[in-house]
């Protein structure tokens, strides 16, 4: 215990404390509490652009309209397809790339610098670059396949529902893999080298060492990556805006883009707000799960 007399008297210290903390609390509160209640209240009213002065209370109508809408189901289906591709790929690639970053190759120092670049640039910028590469008339991807003799004529990749989603997924993975690789790299570096030495002495091969030592020991990181990448996949918006505009025929209209569409294109604010509340609930559930995993990982680490 510290001797209480060694501390300055409490007078004035509380004032200092509130003086330093309240600016942050107030700014955050203005942009949290008001938007929260605004979205909640709007979701129970009919708010559309062409009737600005009449916003009748309609109960759960917006929610029912949203849930029953064909586009809602379709956009969730596309979102789930996207997430089902993005999460395993970012996880597995990140795991593999972390080993390359950790390996004592001549390229490793260079890789450790360059791997950050896709993560560092704005997402819309990476979307623009990939849209140019996948361009149907002049894109480098078509050029490459054509030069290799794999296609006879250029393919409009971004105008076909399936391939458009795959192109966005490709760009998304390019952008996200740096993060997962670095997280796995940190996890790999935390594993004591002696474990591998012992396994080698016992005659275990590389595969056995990876599956028996590495995979179980990086499990907490894997869990974090899986949940985090699920959330990132659900809120994907920037890439869609610049690569496909949600098309063709809504095939890349994931849930966040659908929300943007109903608010800023269709101007149906009531339905948009209901959609936002539903999306928020899904995300909050994921974030709670995420925080739980982080907490259990702390216990695991100590």
């Amino acid at each position: 215990m510290r001797d209480p007399s060694s501390r300055r008297p409490r007078y004035g210290e509380a004032r200092y404390a509130y003086g330093t903390v309240l600016p942050v609390v107030l700014i955050v509160a203005l942009f949290t509490i008001y938007p929260f209640f605004y979205a909640l209240l709007t979701s129970f009213r009919e708010v559309v652009l062409y009737k600005p002065f009449s916003q009748p209370f309609v109960g759960l109508k917006n929610y029912l309209d949203v849930v029953r809408s064909e586009f809602f189901a379709a956009s969730w289906r596309h979102t789930l397809t996207f997430v089902a591709g993005a999460v395993p790929l970012t996880t597995v690639l990140g795991f593999g790339i972390a080993h390359l970053l950790n390996a004592r190759t001549r390229l490793a120092p260079l890789l450790n610098v360059t791997i950050l670049l896709p993560w560092a640039i704005p997402t819309v910028i990476s979307g623009i670059i990939w849209a140019w590469i996948f361009n149907s008339s002049y894109g480098a991807f078509n050029g490459l396949l054509y030069s290799l003799g794999l296609i006879d004529s250029y393919v409009p990749w971004l105008s076909r529902p399936r391939s458009a989603l795959a192109c966005v997924l490709f760009a998304h993975i390019w952008k996200e893999v740096p993060l997962t690789s670095i997280l796995y790299l940190a996890a790999l570096q935390a594993i004591p080298e002696e474990l591998y030495d012992a396994a080698r002495v016992d005659g275990a091969g590389t595969l056995a060492a990876v599956s028996r030592i590495t995979v179980p020991l990086v499990l907490p990181t894997t869990l974090i990556i899986v949940v985090y990448e699920t959330m990132v996949g659900i809120v994907t918006f920037d890439l869609l805006y610049v690569m496909t505009g949600g098309g063709p025929a809504g095939a890349t209209s994931l849930i966040s883009y659908y929300l943007y569409n109903s608010m800023f294109v269709a101007f149906n604010f009531g339905q948009g707000a209901a959609l936002a509340v539903l999306l928020a609930l899904v995300l909050v559930a994921f974030i709670m799960l995420y925080l739980r995993l982080l907490r259990s990982e702390e216990i695991y680490a100590t």
Binding site: V28, F31, S126, Y138, L144, P178, L183, L279
Partner: protein, 297 residues
């Protein structure tokens, strides 16, 4: 036996080469596209090694002088690409906004985080949790209320709007990150200084801040990059080049199917310079910070 040894040492090397190509290819392709005349970009299949090099696209963005062979594609095209000339003012806007966000984070974040890490006062836990939990709201869900607040404050299409919104998004992380860091700094030195009549603020500035420079650099780098990279909010609360940031200008230039990609590549290349330089300069802090963001609590 020898073959296996080669495989063992050669495989990681070969895969590393593939990885480097995968990561860098898009950057190289944009750089190459930006220094070729438009005609060359429309070749089928493309020339992998460019033959005609030109700085015309850069000259257009910097001076407004039309690239040679550009007029033949028509006057409408010329007008559309004119938007790309907003790239330079937009870069200035982005830099001003992102730097202000980083500075605001450093000032407000450091003060609040130090208080949370050292002082006990009524409501401290509640306020700390509130700040962290504010990040739970999904960005898309708050877009319209944000727009209304900014409108009410009379800040539409002004720097202050973006600085405020980006600060709201980055401050929770900064406060949390710095609080954790300050807790690891032993309090003995400050206690001695306080006994000698130093104020809390002086103790923070003279004793804690100098040893926390790496954490402060990471916090500044993160808030700068968040602000610089933000797209949706910059799209919603800005409307003219007075405050539009570079992601908005480049996106709105590029989604036009008639635009010259040579010119777009110039704007893309210019946009990437600051964050890439930043990521290089702050690499260690950024890497450490990245790990901290997603794994600690």
């Amino acid at each position: 036996m020898k073959g296996r040894a080669i495989l063992r040492s050669g495989l990681p090397g070969a895969l590393s080469l593939v990885l480097a190509a995968y990561v860098l290819a898009p950057f190289v392709w944009v750089a190459l596209s930006s220094i070729q005349p438009e005609k060359e970009l429309f070749r089928v299949p493309p020339r992998w090694i460019p033959r005609q090099l030109t700085l015309d696209n850069y000259r257009f963005v910097f001076t407004g002088q039309f690239p040679a062979g550009y007029e033949e594609t028509g006057i409408a095209r010329g007008r559309i690409s004119e938007k790309a000339r907003d790239a330079l003012p937009a870069l200035r806007n982005s830099t001003v906004v992102a730097t202000s966000v980083a500075l605001t984070n450093l000032i407000l974040g450091t003060l609040a985080a130090y208080t949370f890490s050292r002082l006990r006062f009524r409501g401290a836990g509640l306020m700390y949790s509130f700040i962290l939990a504010s990040r739970l709201l999904p960005p898309m869900a708050v877009a319209i209320p944000y727009y209304l607040i900014i409108n009410r404050l009379g800040l539409l299409d002004r720097y202050a709007a973006l600085i405020l919104i980006h600060t709201v998004f980055t401050l929770p992380f900064t406060v949390w990150f710095l609080t954790l860091y300050f807790r690891r700094v032993p309090p003995d030195l400050e206690e001695a200084a306080l006994v000698d009549g130093c104020t809390r603020f002086q103790a923070l500035m003279q004793i804690v801040v100098p040893v926390a420079t790496p954490a402060l650099a990471a916090a500044a780098a993160f808030s700068f990059m968040f602000s610089y990279n933000d797209f949706p909010f910059a799209l919603f609360v800005t409307s003219t080049i007075r405050s539009q940031t570079i992601p908005v200008i480049v996106a709105n230039t590029a989604i036009n199917p008639d635009v010259s990609f040579g010119v777009v590549s110039v704007t893309v290349a210019l946009t990437m310079l600051p964050p890439v330089a930043f990521a290089m300069a702050f690499r260690r802090y950024v890497t450490r910070g990245l790990i901290a963001v997603t794994t600690t609590r």
